[in-house]
Amino acid sequence: MIRLKNIKKSFGKQMVLKGIDLTVEKGEVVVILGPSGSGKTTLLRCINFLERADSGAITIGDLSVDCHRATKKEILALRRKTAMVFQHYNLFKHKTVLENVMEGLVVVQKWPVERAKERSLQILEKVGLSQQIDMYPSQLSGGQQQRVGIARALALNPEVILFDEPTSALDPELVGEVLSVIQKIAREGITMIVVTHEMGFARDISDHVVFMDNGVVVEEGKPNEIFHAPKEERTKQFLKRITPEWRYSI
């Protein structure tokens, strides 16, 4: 289980997160929606300390960390319970597909190379990249690169995978292959927190939806409630703007 308590974060004078609380149950898929600048990506990056929140507390499984006072050791321990899939993939460019996936197992989790390779090959098969294991990221399409990113995260068997707009940088025709891989692993019961702008995908995949605006959680609930019967005016406006066709389907 993951629990965020009263997370606050400012960049200079700009307060980006104004006290966020969030609970994610084991195996749950939580989607965070909201307009750009609402703080969703920052929230995600605070969870694994790519940004350090100014105050608040983060609990993942049996590990609780106070954001303000967190030591290097605690941050490392927290990061080792999480994995992240980035908008721009951020693959290790000098390593092959297989090496990208093995890296964390070998260097961080100290697996023997042979075992790490075996597991990585399994994961790569799951994301449909068995044919590309010896290629370098520069030789892959965006969709393939992002699937490597997902495999790299998945290989570590983390307690939660954080997805930061995983399809925003992709050509439209490549979005589908990535979304279907994410959906596939969601069904396996892996805990996920997903920031996305793909509304249809969000509705299909999520167990719980959080709508953020201006650094606060405006509304949260089951996907049916949020998408079909939002209570807050701001949520309604956002959904209307981002999915105009729904005006006709409701």
């Binding site: 694994n48 300390f49 790519l50 490392l76 990061r79 080792r80 999480t82 994995a83 992240m84 980035f86 721009h88 951020n90 693959l91 290790f92 460019k93 000098h94 390593k95 092959t96 890296e103 964390g104 260097v107 961080v108 989790q109 044919q131 010896d134 290629m135 370098y136 990221p137 520069s138 030789q139 790299r152 995260a153 570590l156």
Partner: protein, 234 residues
């Protein structure tokens, strides 16, 4: 000027000069090794923004870039013994070769540090974040992810610098080092055929430079294999 030009002497001189090539290469290799170490140490405070050290490193780099290598050579050759005398170390009997290698090492190190710094910042930040996100320590992320790519990015500039310093080693004879150019100087004085000596020297330096360039470009292709756009196998 000397006697009338004799082409045969050029070929005559070649082997005599070549027998001193190893001194020239020794200066170069020694300087590059010192330079790599010094350059790396000087780059770190500026990459990690460490106060005081960062300023010192910037001053060092700017001084080296702003003074001719020959002046640096004289400063070290005449200045270092004086400096060491004040702390009771006598280096009057040390070979001038050592002074040359030290000078060139520190000189090349300053330029290396600039190259390394630029190369490290050219590796995109996202990869470091990805390394952190999978739980790597900052040191592991630097050594395993950033550094290998930075070295590849730095390599062409590094190679150019090495080649240009190979040529600069010819100044070593000014403080009495008997390298190839130094030997040429004595040959010229003895035979009065300076032009032939310089032609021979030009041929040798040029040949060594071409050879180095070829080696470097082969290495570069190998290092850049991950930048290839086309599939290796499918």
């Amino acid at each position: 000027m000397g006697k009338s030009f004799d082409l045969n002497l050029v070929f005559d001189f070649l082997p005599k000069l070549l027998s001193y090539l190893h001194i020239t290469l020794l200066i170069l290799v020694g300087a590059v090794l010192i330079g790599l170490l010094v350059g790396f140490l000087a780059a770190l405070p500026r990459i990690y923004n460490i106060p005081v050290l960062r300023t010192l490193s910037a001053i060092y780099v700017s001084f080296i870039r702003g003074t001719p290598i020959l002046i640096q050579l004289f400063l070290v050759y005449y200045g270092l013994p004086e400096l060491l005398k004040t702390i009771q170390i006598d280096v009057t009997h040390m070979s001038s070769l050592v002074f040359v290698i030290i000078t060139y090492g520190f000189s090349i190190g300053a330029l290396f540090s600039e190259i390394i710094r630029a190369a490290v910042s050219a590796v995109d930040r996202g990869q470091t974040e990805a390394a952190y996100a999978i739980g790597m320590t900052p040191i592991a992320a630097f050594v395993r992810i950033v550094l290998p790519q930075a070295l590849t990015i730095a390599f062409p500039n590094f190679a150019n610098l090495v080649i240009s310093y190979l040529k600069d080693t010819s100044l070593a004879f000014y403080i009495g080092v008997m390298d190839m150019t130094g030997r040429g100087q004595t040959l010229g004085t003895a035979t009065n055929h300076f032009l032939e000596v310089y032609i021979s020297l030009a041929i040798i330096y040029y040949a060594v430079c071409i050879l180095l360039e070829k080696c470097f470009s082969l290495l570069e292709t190998r290092m850049l294999r991950y930048e290839r756009q086309f599939p290796v196998s499918q």
